[in-house]
């Protein structure tokens, strides 16, 4: 490596440091706060970015054993995985149809789907509450499995539509000339090429479901049915009393599944967002 090239690389990395700090800071602060004792958290002379009075796992142990955090997390995982999987299947088929097939008002239909996604959940939760009730799913986590696709499907469809359009038609047509049906062409040709797009949609859907609040709040009540996003805020913010240590411990633990997913699928995610199906 030439000297000039070396210094260019060093410079590039140095320039990235502020962005890295910006991205890491919330996690650093969350973790630090979750490990501080209450006494230090309420000490005005304490340094916010250091643990001076010794770390403690007290907040984690209180969160895990004195609240139903494990149950809430389990519920979040069940709801998120199922809702994401269902939405992805439906969205893939819908997006393929909108990207490839020619039928009346296909363009407006695609836009319509995206507009549906833009309707805020704070408007939709009341009519959906009636649907949930009619389905006999009130106060059940399964109500969330049913309702989350209402915003996940439009979003994933829109994302995948764009991605499928970058897959050359010719590749698919070759397969069909060789005797593949449209479904086979989709399954064997388009989807393997579109994996980065699918991973990207899945990650977005997972994150949206994991963080969802208003449906989880209104459609579930029992402690054994609520998700982590509702449980943590309900149990640990009591009016003018915030249990900061436990709140931060909850935030750290709740971010773990998302971090794991992004670490494993980062490359797919980036290429899903930035590149088309064919580079």
């Amino acid at each position: 490596m030439g000297k000039r090239k070396f210094w260019n690389r060093v410079l590039m990395h140095v320039l990235l440091v502020p962005f890295l700090l910006f991205a890491i800071f919330p996690f650093f602060h969350m973790t630090l706060t979750s490990l501080k004792s209450d006494r230090e958290l309420y000490d005005r002379k304490a340094v916010p970015l250091l643990i001076q009075q010794g770390p403690t796992l007290e907040h984690y142990s209180k969160l895990l054993w004195e609240t139903a955090f494990i149950t809430w997390t389990k519920n979040s995982l069940i709801v998120t995985f199922i809702a994401t999987a269902v939405s992805l299947v439906v969205a893939t088929i819908a997006a393929y149809a909108l990207a490839r097939l020619k039928f009346f008002a296909v363009g407006s239909f695609g836009t319509g789907i995206f507009v549906t996604y833009l309707v805020p959940t704070s408007l939709l939760f009341l009519p959906l509450a009636q649907v949930v009730n009619w389905l006999g799913l009130a106060d059940s986590k399964w109500a969330l499995v049913v309702t989350y696709p209402t915003f996940l499907v439009p979003f994933c469809t829109w994302l995948l539509m764009g991605y499928f359009r970058t897959v050359p038609k010719e590749v698919e047509e070759c397969a069909m000339v060789d005797g593949a049906t449209r479904i086979q062409a989709l399954w064997r040709i388009v989807l393997p090429i579109a994996i980065p797009g699918l991973v990207c949609a899945a990650l977005f859907a997972f994150t949206l479901s994991w963080n969802e609040f208003i449906y989880a709040l209104t459609f579930t009540s029992s402690s054994d049915q609520i998700t982590a996003s509702v449980g943590v805020t309900s149990e640990l913010i009591r009016g003018d009393i915030y249990f900061w240590g436990q709140l931060m411990a909850g935030a750290v633990l709740a971010s773990v599944p998302i971090v794991i997913l992004y670490v494993f699928f980062l490359d797919y995610y980036v290429s899903g967002l930035t590149a088309g199906a064919v580079k």
Binding site: D43, L217, S221
Partner: protein
């Protein structure tokens, strides 16, 4: 022994079965009596634990199964809206402050229960009546209330030989000294409910009000409001830190617990948490009654009630639970004691409750000479008056004034906003 013919057996059993099925209600013997209660996440967490304990005993004593769910207070409106919309959900609901007015058509008349409780414990306190007695009917049963008091650093006041403030002007004098000592007064001026809970009493004590008793006439544009804003301006400049403009409901608590603020206006939660967490400031904090002004001594009260949804199919068992928890003196006492003076009984004869004797620092909670009101007083708490409160017009008016908008302009802005809401 007489024998029954096959034909007669079929006829009798068919008629009997038809009789049972005709009302489309299962016979009482076969019914599982079960009720559910959607309660707020109490600011005093031990009270939630006690509620669960009492619930278990209630089930044991009456055979009525009770399911208790909890919800954070900020999320109550969304949840209640969903239950009302679907006409399904819990039987009993906790109702904060003016909720009985908002949900009036959806709530069972519980006047019989309140009459019984008033016979036992004396009349319900005025703020409870203002908020739960809707157009002559009790729509919810008052259960307890949390009131605001002045919380101050006793050690600092002693050190600087400061007088305990009896009026808001006295607080200004003390506040200036406190700020010099590095312990400013901590009154939030931001979009939160603690700001309203303090700005309201200050406005009332200067003789001002937002909306008139008729609930239709905006009265914010008055010399009293201007005096109140002038007081806020000098407090902000000489006795407070600018950070109060970004405070949440928790900030004033945390500020005095951490040892920064020398004086705050809040329920006793700041002290309770300091005590529970064994913070060094716990021993230094004390309370005194809220300061007054030219028009008297007023303060904010947050009464909390229990209501029963009309769509409930278990109104009678739900009433039984209310009678059990509030009507049995020993159970009610036990429930109140668990909150460590954060929530106090809402009936006259129980004003001097034993919980106030558990700590000498609760003496100020007897509220002698203080007139307690809910937000928006003296206007009846209609949906529009509540919208004025929830739009944070009062905090924003104060924030405008202390950050440079001329007093008259700030008041005129608030008047316009309030008029818009009342006209809407």
């Amino acid at each position: 022994m007489s024998t029954m013919s096959r034909r007669r057996f079929v006829a009798t059993s068919t008629a009997g079965l038809a009789g049972i099925l005709a009302p489309r209600i299962p016979p009482a013997v076969g019914q599982q009596r079960e009720i559910s209660y959607l309660c707020w996440n109490n600011f005093a967490p031990l009270m939630d634990k006690k509620l669960a304990e009492i619930g278990t005993r209630f089930t044991k004593d009456t055979g009525i199964k009770l399911k208790i769910d909890h919800i954070a207070h900020a999320q109550q409106p969304a949840k209640y809206a969903a239950e009302v919309q679907t006409q399904s959900g819990h039987d009993l609901v906790e109702m904060r402050m003016h909720f009985p007015w908002l949900y009036e058509p959806q709530l069972v008349d519980v006047s019989d229960l309140v009459a019984q409780l008033e016979k036992q414990y004396g009349a319900a306190i005025s703020s409870a009546k203002e908020t739960a007695h809707v157009r002559g009917v009790w729509r919810a049963v008052p259960q307890y209330h949390g009131m605001f008091v002045a919380t101050y650093r006793e050690d600092l006041f002693k050190k600087a030989s400061l007088k305990i403030p009896d009026t808001w002007e006295d607080l200004y004098v003390a506040g200036k000294e406190l700020k010099k000592m590095g312990h400013p007064v901590g009154i939030p001026i931001s979009q939160n409910y603690d700001t309203i809970s303090t700005a309201g009493p200050i406005l009332w004590s200067f003789g001002g009000l937002e909306v008139d008793k008729d609930g239709k006439t905006v009265r914010i544009n008055s010399p009293a409001t201007e005096q109140m804003l002038e007081w806020y301006k000098k407090m902000f400049k000489d006795a407070m830190d600018p950070e109060v403009l970004s405070w949440t409901d928790a900030s004033n608590n945390e500020s005095i617990q951490q040892g920064k603020s020398g004086w705050i206006h809040n329920p006793v939660s700041a002290y309770l948490i300091a005590k529970q967490k064994k913070l060094p400031t716990a021993d230094l904090i004390n309370h005194h009654r809220t300061p007054g002004g030219p028009a008297g001594r007023h303060d904010t009260d947050v009464p909390r009630h229990i209501g029963i949804w009309k769509f409930s199919k278990n109104v009678e068992p739900a009433k039984e639970f209310i009678k059990y928890i509030l009507g049995k003196r020993e159970v009610y006492d036990e429930y109140i004691m668990s909150a460590d003076a954060f929530n106090l009984p809402t009936y006259d004869k129980l004003k001097e409750h034993p919980v106030l004797k558990t700590d000498p620092k609760y003496a100020a909670l007897s509220g002698e000479g203080v007139q307690y009101h809910a937000y928006g007083w003296p206007a009846p708490p209609s949906d529009k008056v509540q919208l004025i409160t929830n739009s944070f017009i009062l905090p924003n008016m104060v924030a405008k004034a202390v950050t440079g908008t001329p007093t008259k302009e700030s008041v005129a802005w608030a008047e316009r906003e309030m008029k818009k809401i009342l006209a809407g």
